[in-house]
């Protein structure tokens, strides 16, 4: 099978797989959540589930920043973009995310001035070049992108730019993990911690998971072997009855995170009392807004924002997918009405989304693969 040996360290992977299998208690089922969409991507690209014993299930978590933006916020952004003299700027990932009246791409096609930028700093430059326009940056992402927004705001404030503002949709990963831990639908045994978010926040914020919930956490890198190694570390903890936070990705992630980045976020943003996540509902203290001190840069204060709540389309089961309750292929519209070209839900939009990862690599449920290979052998 193509996907079994497609990466260069197949021997090491098999050796790790054997050690993982040896740690499984007979009759026990293990559910491990990979929080980050980058991990989901590696898992499907390399077919890592095929290396694992049947008793281990990998559950995809909510760590795809585009996937968790609720429809109402997309509509709000669209409303902002349609205001007189506004230039809306956004990362490319956001452009296809469906709101109730279409996506940024659709609005752009109809003449709304929405521009794709690589960095919030590009947005700042557009503001400098267009002093008679009001440039709004659609800020999205977890703690990996929040420092960039924060640093850009500090720069705008230092320059005294008056035509730049931020529509802040930054979310924080820890409350989402907590919401999942508190949700009765799902019993998890451990977590693969997000790699890049942790470069900013460090490993400490996960300690409550180990301490209060008794679940091990291993912050993991993005190579296939990183992920297998991290699964091994989780299984070792479980087999020894330990629950600790460990850092498999220490070559990039410092235990205490990036202090400069955290300070920039703390200076410019504060926690919102609550924020709606697509599919997960309202989660308290789970998102950031612009601090009052920087009110002049806060699009939510400078413009009327309707703030209407929009229910997800009926057919969409992204919420279940984001919580790990459903596998993407179990959604009724997966691959039929919902594809990367015509996404109904957000998980199909971003390459970090579980549905897109499944779709792009044509993965199916392990049992289905077994059935097919058995049929072709007989």
């Amino acid at each position: 099978m193509r996907f079994v040996d497609e990466f260069r360290d197949a021997d090491k992977a098999h050796a790790l797989a054997a050690r993982i299998a040896a740690l499984c208690e007979p009759g026990r089922q293990y559910k491990l959540m990979e929080v980050c969409g980058g991990h989901t991507h590696t898992i499907y690209k390399h077919g890592l589930e095929d290396y694992l014993p049947e008793s281990i299930t990998l559950v995809h978590g909510p760590g795809c920043p585009v996937c968790v933006i609720p429809m109402g916020r997309v509509d709000d952004a669209m409303h902002l973009a349609s205001q007189p003299d506004v230039i809306m700027t956004s990362f490319g990932d956001m452009m296809r995310v469906p709101g109730s009246k279409g996506s940024f791409f659709d609005a752009k096609a109809q003449g709304t001035d929405i521009r794709m930028v690589y960095s919030p700093l590009d947005s700042l430059k557009i503001a400098r070049q267009n002093p008679d326009k009001r440039v709004v940056f659609m800020a999205i992402g977890f703690e990996t992108t929040a420092p960039s927004t924060a640093m850009t705001m500090l720069r705008a404030a230092a320059e005294g730019l008056t035509n730049f503002s931020v529509f802040c949709n930054h979310v924080t990963i820890v409350p989402a993990i907590k919401a999942i831990l508190d949700s009765p639908d799902l019993r998890l045994d451990g977590f693969l911690g997000p790699g890049h978010v942790s470069t900013v926040i460090g490993c400490r914020p996960y300690e409550f998971i180990a301490r209060d919930y008794g679940k091990p956490v291993v912050v993991a890198g993005f190579e296939p072997l990183d992920i297998l190694q991290s699964i091994y570390m989780l299984m070792l903890q479980l087999s020894q009855g330990r629950s600790e936070v460990e850092n498999q990705y220490s070559r990039v992630v410092p235990w205490n995170g990036n202090m400069v980045a955290l300070a920039a976020i703390a200076e410019t943003m504060e926690l919102r009392p609550y924020f709606e996540w697509r599919g997960l509902g309202f989660i308290s203290q789970s998102a950031l807004r612009v601090r009052e001190k920087y009110a002049a840069l806060d699009a939510e204060l400078l413009f009327e924002v309707p703030g209407v709540r929009v229910a997800d389309p009926k057919a969409c089961q992204c919420g279940e997918v984001l919580k790990g309750v459903l596998k993407p292929w179990e959604c009724k519209v997966f691959g039929t009405a919902c594809t990367p070209e015509t996404p109904i839900g957000t998980c199909m939009v971003s390459p970090e989304g579980a549905c897109a990862a499944y779709y792009n690599y044509g993965r199916m449920h392990r049992n289905r693969v077994l059935e097919i290979t058995q049929v072709s052998r007989s």
Binding site: F91, T144, P147, S148
Partner: protein, 90 residues
């Protein structure tokens, strides 16, 4: 967006010390290195860049691995590099 792209630092901006020119797969652009001001990268060192900001220093091996990961994601990576190419950070 959440995925970092590895770049090799070519030079630090002579006046604005928080900017550095980096090389990402042959594309040379400015990025902000202000988040690494506690331990700034020197020319020849590698950094992981998120939306125009270097967020961590990495070694060459890690850079190669990160690049391989990105190339593996196909279109999304091409989009990211295309966006990076368009960027005008100054």
């Amino acid at each position: 967006m959440c995925l970092g792209i590895p770049g090799e630092v070519i030079e630090i901006h002579p006046e604005q010390r928080d900017l550095a020119k980096v090389n990402v797969s042959g594309v040379r652009r400015m990025v902000n290195i202000g988040l690494l001001c506690d331990d700034p990268p020197a020319p020849g060192e590698w950094v992981l860049i998120h939306v125009g900001f270097a967020l961590s220093k990495i070694d060459e091996h890690e850079a190669a691995a990160a690049m391989e990961f990105l190339e593996g994601i196909g279109q999304a990576y091409e989009d990211e590099i295309a966006a990076f190419r368009e960027s005008l950070i100054e």
